[in-house]
């Protein structure tokens, strides 16, 4: 159990069953690749990122968080034609950061989850942008307006998604 800055109480550290650990990220990557084919607006969402944040905040272990982010990111990279590591690096950073904050903050209520998801979405996009521009020389355009709207959309979806995924949590 860890002690949070916000509540002053000890918070639970959760774990997940092996099927949930493997299948939930796989389903997220699958939906990310399939749903926009039918509903184009869905491409604004980043389901693998939301799953990374959820697992990292629930487990509250920095190593588990960064490894989860790295694996999900590499899996996401593998489906694109771009070099593997762009999403991997971004989600590693997000996984580490989310688990670090998860240890210190009570991220169980909807408001905190909304703000954290918005924050980590922007962090993810900034890291991705820097790596893509700096290491891979991809031409990318940055628009704060677009990123903030996308971040808000992801944050709202995240709050709903986390409520569903809470059912898979197991107390340690």
């Amino acid at each position: 159990m860890a002690i949070t800055y916000t509540s002053g109480e000890q918070v639970e550290v959760y774990r997940f069953s092996l099927p949930a650990t493997i299948l939930i990220p796989l389903i997220a990557v699958f939906l990310q690749a399939w749903v926009p084919l039918r509903f184009h607006f869905f491409s604004i969402f980043d389901l693998p990122l939301l799953i990374t944040i959820f697992f990292a905040m629930a487990r509250r272990s920095q190593i588990a968080g960064l490894l989860t982010g790295a694996l999900i990111g590499v899996l996401q990279d593998s489906l694109t034609h771009q070099p593997i590591g762009l999403y991997g690096l971004s989600k590693t950073v997000v996984g580490y950061g989310a688990s670090s904050l998860g240890v210190k903050l009570d991220a169980e209520n909807a408001g905190a989850r909304l703000l954290l998801t918005l924050f980590f979405y922007v962090v993810h996009e900034v890291v991705y942008f820097l790596i893509a521009r700096g290491l891979v020389s991809l031409h990318m355009e940055w628009s704060w307006q677009h990123e903030l709207w996308s971040g808000l959309a992801n944050a709202f979806l995240g709050v709903i998604l986390y409520a569903v995924l809470d059912r898979f949590k197991q107390r340690t």
């Binding site: 796989l26 990557v29 699958f30 990310q32 690749a33 399939w34 926009p36 084919l37 184009h40 491409s43 693998p48 920095q62 190593i63 960064l66 490894l67 790295a70 590499v74 899996l75 996401q76 593998s78 489906l79 694109t80 034609h81 771009q82 070099p83 593997i84 590591g85 762009l86 999403y87 991997g88 690096l89 590693t92 950073v93 580490y96 790596i131 893509a132 290491l135 891979v136 020389s137 991809l138 031409h139 990318m140 355009e141």
Partner: protein, 403 residues
């Protein structure tokens, strides 16, 4: 040891980041070698695409059941309208075929070699890459089906992209809207050539056209054939906006003819042939021939039929002598495809939009679905529209001309 334990998390973070940056650097350095990360990609694609295939199959089966058997409202009216449209198009084809014959004769005189699509394979789009920065789609055909990298991918509307990576039973297709794609393009009216590229925002621009040239919005853009991937003359899209760009070049925005955000079925061009143009051997079909086929006719009386009784023969066996003599062709609406024409009959002309060598010879006139193997979107359309029963099948041009 105490320091290691204290900073264990940070050390693991640094190690994981370092490993990925190293891997990224290796891939960037070997950008021409796709094998450097092949194994991981094969695993990932193998884990995700079977689910996509299954879902697409369920979806298309349900859709087919609904549209082909249950929801048939308005099909009769649509069928009648399509028949009328076919008649109009057949008359139009007569005019166009005469122009095409003339063009072929001129090309033969110039020993002109042309490319044409000789084989395509229909494929279903089963998923996307899942990233806004990677504009690519997965199709359900791969190495087992004969797909190879750099094959062109098109739809009936226009160019879609090219095959980038090929896996066992799936392939990754790079769309023309991706920033790493490039297509040789030509403006249809002004004949200016440039390179079509995608932008980070997913738009398509035509580059390398000098700013002192005049390009107007609305002008169609076609493939130039210069990239050796796409045959010349395929539709790419239409110019929507022209603005001065950098380094004395124009920036020309192009709206793709194919709707890249709603791809369902595509055609992979599996073979492009090149041959010298040959003049058409068969005689021209006249408008009067087409009109003669449409004339109402009285079927010949059977020999044992009682006088004053008109008995219709089964379709496919009756030949209208007057129409046959006038037109020189087997009247398809009356006699069927394989009816024997009279001895003085001219060779049959292939039906419009049915494909076959005479149509496939000219890329611009071919259309993406004209010569397909293994099914095409046109096959799907024909299922829905219910062809007339006696529509002649496409036939190759005759070896010998009786006239």
């Amino acid at each position: 040891m105490d320091v290691l334990g204290r900073y264990k998390n940070l050390i693991v973070l640094a190690a994981v980041l370092f490993a990925q940056i190293l891997g990224l650097a290796v891939q960037v350095k070997r950008s021409t070698d796709p094998e450097s990360s092949r194994l991981i990609r094969v695993w990932a694609v193998g884990a995700v695409t079977p689910f996509e295939k299954a879902l697409v199959w369920i979806q298309s089966s349900t859709g087919n059941l609904w549209h082909s058997y249950l929801y048939l409202r308005g099909v009769r009216v649509e069928n009648r309208q399509l028949k009328e449209q076919i008649e109009r198009m057949r008359l139009e084809q007569v005019r166009l075929s005469q122009d095409a014959d003339q063009a072929r004769r001129l090309q033969a005189l110039l020993a002109f070699k042309e490319q044409f699509i000789s084989q395509t394979m229909a494929a279903q789009v089963i998923g996307l890459s899942g990233s806004e920065q990677s504009r690519s789609v997965y199709i359900d055909k791969g190495e087992k089906d004969g797909i190879k990298p750099d094959m062109a991918v098109i739809t009936a509307d226009g160019v879609v992209g090219k095959v980038l990576h090929v896996y066992g039973s799936t392939s990754l297709v790079l769309l023309i809207s991706d920033q790493s794609s490039g297509v040789g393009a030509i403006l249809e009216k002004s004949r200016l050539q440039g390179i079509l590229r995608g932008t980070p925002a997913g738009e398509v621009t035509l580059e390398k056209i000098m700013s002192d040239e005049t390009v107007l919005p609305g002008e169609p853009v076609l493939t130039s054939g210069g990239d050796r991937i796409f045959p010349k003359g395929l539709s790419i899209g239409t110019v929507t906006r022209v603005v001065p760009g950098s380094e004395s070049f124009l920036t020309i925005r192009v709206k793709p003819a194919a709707d890249l955000s709603k791809l369902e079925e595509v055609l992979v061009v599996t073979r492009i042939d090149e041959r010298q143009a040959e003049p058409e051997q068969s005689g021209p079909m006249r408008a009067v021939d087409i009109l003669a086929e449409r004339l109402p006719s009285v079927p010949p009386k059977p020999e044992n039929a009682p006088a004053g009784t008109a008995t219709a023969k089964p379709p496919g066996t009756t030949q209208n002598p007057s129409a046959s003599a006038l037109s020189g062709t087997a009247a398809p609406a009356v006699s069927g495809a394989n009816s024997a024409a009279g001895p003085d009959a001219k060779p049959k002309t292939p039906a419009p939009a049915s494909g076959g060598p005479p149509v496939a010879r000219k890329p611009a006139a071919t259309g993406p679905g004209a010569s397909t193997a293994g099914g095409s979107p046109q096959v799907k359309i024909s299922q829905k529209t219910a062809k007339p029963p006696a529509e002649p099948k496409p036939q190759p041009p005759p070896e010998d001309n009786p006239q």
